[in-house]
Subunit: 319 residues, 2 copies
């Protein structure tokens, strides 16, 4: 099967386009009428670097490729709109396999209101998925960058941390005691609704936790020119992370701080807006937990339970 | 050097953003205010599939990655806006090499008014560049798809054909008699201004010639539900294609019809609009040549010089 036939098969499965899409996949370019402002992000998964086919089904890989890209839109508080996908197909992946990948994308696209609006397919030495996502907002001011945090802002995170990293160490150790954590690693759920709720609640800066809280917090601190003090004992650890960490001889806090891939949101906001924001996030089905404060200075300081403060870089070396 | 340091180096080289870009590279997503309609396309180049590093400099590969994507915007008659790039970096490409690639993109971005507005970088087994481009128009109706050709429309092409394929066969044969043709292969120039001129001149359908005229004409014929009759003797062969074809024992017409990568535009338009359209295209520095007609029916018929008509599929088998 050639590129054109595969694209045709994919297009047959795509279903209806979103309201902004005038011309979908199949022409030289897709045509949309965005209105307002757009947020655009690219995220790529490469076999052997970001995933292994022996750990993840093709459906899960397709899901994750779209999920990690959509997580960046969540961090902007954008409404998901369109996705454009480059699929690099290795010699040992047949047509049916490609369609399984796409099926994983389509499921998540439907669940989130995203239109798969175009892309490209090529042969490649390793399975490669590069996903460009476009999200929308009424105006650019409604979208939340990393750079608006102010001294005195509270720092908070959505959901629970450490689960994805715990799932990964279990997978790599060949242990399957906690399928919920493995699912957390393989099937991340972008916090799109929580991100929009936070942007609408007066949050000042936001980032998604893809590389691990310690590193991602530093990106936000640098962009906002503030220091972030994080209280490690306040971090909402996912249930089972302690057990999983014990199985493989790791520290639960290490998994939460530098494991990455939780795809939760780290957000800053004025303390007086916290209750309202937490209520809005709760309505989307998840929790908002205060974990620290933005202060004058630079960098990230993680206050460990019962110990001296530790610079975040110490944790990076464990990761 | 890690991913973040390389991205930082790249960002330092990018220069000023276009007027629609509110937040450029470096946040979770880029923010733009498009206005009107957007055309979005993805085009990927994979080492060993689309190029070889022994034939092309890194600057040329970067140029071509953006050029082939922009050519799709040319075919829509869109004004180029933003580009988002995934760069998959193989083990034998160092930081300086990555920056050369990006330099090739930046040069063409500047020349075309495109903003490199974001992207992603990852390790990969082979050099991979996936480029998502976004173009703009005042309204969706100003953008030209493949599907508007009508019976009686004239079929025309911009520029000259066969040069890129001739350059490729010379490269592969290790011959460097015609550096102009090799340059044509390695450094395609998207016909952005000609595409906009044609869209504004009342053209009915358009496609860029990436796979070769025979195949690309068929895409347009299928999308428009017409047949295209192409007079092969009318095709504007690029100077030197005959010589190059003779050197490697190929037919010049075969190179023009099925060689591909000329990145010229194939367009249909009512005959009465031809003179005005040709004048508008001439102002952009290239020619518009009538090569056939859209008629009732399906498929593409290539009328060979002095011979019987031949279905385009015959040429595909030569390619």
């Amino acid at each position: 099967m050639g590129e054109f036939e595969l694209l045709e098969q994919i297009r047959e499965r795509l279903g209806a386009s979103g309201p902004r899409v005038v011309v979908g996949s199949g022409d030289d370019a897709s045509v949309t009428v965005p209105g307002g402002a757009t947020a655009t992000s690219v995220d790529a998964l490469v076999e052997g670097v970001h995933f292994r086919r022996e750990h993840a089904s093709l459906v899960a890989i397709g899901h994750k490729a779209l999920a990690t890209a959509l997580s960046d839109l969540a961090a902007m508080g954008a409404e998901p709109g369109e996705a454009y996908v480059f699929l690099g197909v290795p010699p040992d992946l047949d047509e049916a396999g490609c369609l399984e990948l796409v099926e994983g994308m389509i499921e998540l696209a439907r669940a989130t209101g995203t239109t798969l609006a175009g892309g490209d397919v090529s042969r490649a030495p390793a399975l490669t998925l590069s996903t460009t996502v476009v999200g929308h907002a009424a105006a650019a001011e409604d979208l939340l960058t990393r750079s608006g945090a102010r001294h005195g802002d509270l720092v908070a995170v959505t959901g629970e941390l450490g689960g994805a990293a715990a799932g990964l160490v279990l997978l790599e150790a060949g242990r399957n005691e906690r399928l919920d954590l493995i699912e957390r690693q393989l099937r991340p759920r972008p916090r799109l609704r929580a991100g929009r709720a936070l942007a609408a609640s007066g949050a000042t800066a936001m980032i998604d936790l893809s590389d691990g809280l310690a590193g991602d917090a530093r990106h936000l601190a640098v962009a906002s020119e503030v220091a972030l003090e994080i209280d490690a004992s306040a971090l909402p650890l996912e249930a089972g992370v302690g057990d999983a960490a014990a199985i493989v001889g790791r520290e639960p806090l290490e998994l939460a701080l530098s494991g990455g891939e939780d795809y939760e949101l780290l957000v800053t906001l004025p303390p007086e807006l916290y209750e309202r924001a937490a209520a809005a996030v709760r309505e989307t089905g998840t929790a908002l937990t205060p974990v620290g404060e933005a202060v004058a200075g630079a960098g990230v300081e993680i206050r460990l339970p019962g110990g001296a403060p530790s610079a975040a870089t110490g944790f990076d070396q464990l990761g």
